[in-house]
Structures are given as C-alpha cells and as structure tokens.
Amino acid sequence: MIAVVDYGVGNLFSLASSLKALGLESVVTADRKIVEKCDRVILPGVGAFPDAMAKLEGAGLKDFLVAQAAEKPFLGICLGMQMLFDRSFEYGETRGLGLVEGEIAPLAGAARGLKIPHMGWNSLHFTKQDELFKYNKEGDYVYFVHSFYATGCESSLTAVTDYGVRVTAAVRSGKVFGTQFHPEKSGAAGLKMLKAFSEVV
C-alpha cells in the first residue's frame, strides 16, 4: 500500500488514478496511523514552498515524515521534491525537511531570456543509474511545471534536463527519491517510474 500524503495542496486525483491504472493500491491520507502502516510514501505538492511547509507543519506531519523517510521508500514529486531539501528561497528563506542536501533557487536568476515557468515536456539525461528509472531510457520526455529548481545537490543527482540552464530533474538519497517533473502527467514514461518506485525494496 502506498500512502499519498494529503496536506491540503494540489491535485492528488491524477496521482491516485495513475497508481490505480498500474494496479497499485494507494490511500490518499493525512492520518499518521495510516501512513505508518503503508510500505511506501509519496509526497506530492503544487504551489508555493512556504505555504506548503506551513501546511505540512500545521498538519503535524513534518517530523513524522522525516522519520518515515528513514524507514521506507519515499518519493517527493514537484514541490514535494523541493520540500525534501534543506531550504528554499521562494518568497524569502524557508527551511525544508532536510532529507536531501541542497537548496531551492529561482530559475529566473539562472539564465537570461528563459520563459518562466519551465512548463512542458523536456527530455531526461540520467547522471547516475537509479532503480527509479530501470524501465526508462535516456532521452525519455517528462512533464515539468516549475519556476524554482534544486541546486547544490551533486551527490544525490540522478537525472537532469536542459532548459538553457541545467535543471535538476531527479535526486536520490538513501530511500528518498525526488522528481521535479510529474510522473503522473508524463504519459507512459512517467507510469514506468511509478511502477519502479512500487518495486523499490
């Protein structure tokens, strides 16, 4: 059973539907007792970093999820990936979950002339072999929608994409995985990753 953490941000419908289409059982919940019983956790997220962290804390989930991430496979998606990091500079400086080393910076400052948000399908370049991508191939297209990106995370980097600047696409640290893109919106390529995540031991 996969727990999809529901802390009041974003559209969890697509993610739950993707898992269902793969024949995977999942539960959308904010209940710690239920999350504890699940064998893996997905932290989704859409919106702004400070607001999402405040909601996570407000729901009493912040420290709990940090502890969960040490015990079982844990996947952060989009803003959920960004929240895995030490801190973000979106609307001032906000501390994250500190599960992955690095920080979240604006794309706007990274290069001139970029259209922001980075929105659409971009191709992946794998910087490291990772079991999350065991069914994917180099150059697979996935769907991105974001205005901030992760930096200073060389040691955990598993995939990047080219948007005039090199953008962190995926990271991994121990059992903790993160994707800046949306696997649940990335067609067949994304479904393969969710399947691979369900098989991580």
Binding site: S14, K20, I116, M119, Y143, G187
Partner: protein
C-alpha cells in the same frame, strides 16, 4: 530541450464532444472519455476540454466527464469555458484539471487572474484571448468572439503576465476556421515580448501550418480542434514531420 507541444481541443456540450471526429475503431466518436484516451495514446502533449454548455445540468455532466477523463488520462489536462470565479476554478480542479483557462471571465473581472494565481499558482492559470484586427490594431473580443471589448490585445497579454497568468493562449478570430495557417503576424505582434509560454490557436489546416508556426514564431505550442478531430492531421505523423523539420517534439 523543451519540446514544442501539440494540443487537441475538445468542445463539449451536454456531455458530448460537439465537433465530429474521424477516429477509426471508436464506436462512439462523441464520447469525450474514449476520445481523450485515444488522444493520450497517439502522442498528444496535452488536452483542452472546453465546456460550451450554458445550462446547470450541462455543467454537471461536464464535471462528471472531467473526472472520468482525468482517471484515464496521464498527460496534462486544461479546462476552459464558463470560468468566471474562484469557485469555478475550484470545481474543475477538484475533478482533475491541471490548468484552468479563463477568457471572458477575466475580461469582466481582471482581478480574477491574480486571485486565482495566488490561490492555485501561476502554472494553473491560463489566459485565453480571442483577438481580431479592428481598424489597424489588435482587439480582444469576449463572449466567444461575439463582443468587442475595446481592449488592445498586447496590453491585455502583458497585464495577464504581470498578474500571474502562467500561459497565454492566443486565438486569432481572423484565421480561426479558415484553415489557412496560424496567424503568425498577430502572434509576433501580440505575444512577442512575453516571458511566459504562448499557445497558438486558430487556423491550423494541415501539417505545414504547424511547421511554419514553429519555424516563424516563438510559440511553445500549437492548438487545433477540427484539424485533429476530422483526421486531416494525425498527431503521430505531424510530430514526425516537425522533427524532420528541426522542431523539438516528444515522440
């Protein structure tokens, strides 16, 4: 490299797709769910569902369908038509939409753009504009292109960007339905200075029109309705042809 997007748009009325389609092997070509799945499988990069129903019952049918589509579609889904308030945003987002397109609703109440962007994020708010040449300038029209607003299109696009729209759809009334190609001139003039993604709409009649669009403008996506529904252009074939012409696409 970011791929250029190809986006079919489905007009839905009372729970059925309005414009005819030419997909073979589909028993019910007016069933939005079957069509959406077919488009997802053949390489569409995103789908737009446009509700052209006026009645409350039709609206309910529409949101039911959205939910069923979102359950089976694993590419981004944009919803438009009759979006006038944050409640309207809320209703379609809850049914699985990823982005919401506002048009006349934003003309009537421009503060809706900022309010929606603040609540749901810039990436969620698409400003769709119907534009027509009127005595030498580009003017925004409302109510499905029937009503003049007096608003200059370039200024409206910039207003949208400044107030949090994450994307602009520019539909040229002048080329819409003519099938003589996208309105390259209007695109350059109205959206040239923007820093957010731009979707070109209106005028696609053949593969060459998309090739010209991406060759001659900075548009991020091309949107089409009947050109896809009637099978004039197959999406897989279109994308192969774009790639052959040096345009980055997802194959």
């Amino acid at each position: 490299m970011l791929a250029k997007r190809i986006i079919p748009c489905l007009d839905v009325k009372d729970g059925r797709v309005v414009k005819g389609t030419n997909f073979t092997g589909l028993r019910d070509v007016e069933d939005p769910v079957a069509l959406a799945e077919r488009y997802g499988a053949c390489g569409a990069d995103e789908l737009v569902f446009y509700d052209i129903t006026a009645s409350a019952e039709g609206r309910k049918l529409f949101t039911d369908i959205l939910r069923r589509v979102a359950e089976r579609l694993f590419i981004p889904l944009t919803v438009g038509g009759g979006i006038n308030s944050l409640d309207d945003f809320d209703a379609v987002l809850k049914c699985g939409a990823d982005k919401v397109s506002v048009n006349s609703g934003a003309v009537k109440d421009p503060s809706l753009i900022k309010a929606a962007a603040k609540k749901y994020g810039d990436q969620c708010v698409v400003l769709s504009m119907d534009v027509k040449r009127v005595s030498g300038r580009y003017e925004v029209f409302a109510k499905g292109g029937r009503e003049r607003t007096g608003i200059e299109a370039g200024a409206w696009a910039r207003f949208g960007e400044e107030h949090g729209a994450g994307e602009i759809v520019l539909n040229s009334i002048d080329t819409d339905g003519v099938k003589g190609g996208f309105d390259i001139e209007m695109l350059a003039d109205v959206t040239g200075g923007l820093h957010i993604p731009v979707v070109a709409s209106g005028g696609a009649g053949c593969i060459k029109d998309f090739v010209e669009l991406f060759k001659n403008t900075d548009a991020d996506a091309g949107l089409g309705a009947s050109v896809f529904h009637f099978g004039t252009v197959g999406i897989a074939e279109l994308k192969r042809e774009l790639k052959r012409n040096g345009t980055e696409v997802r194959l």
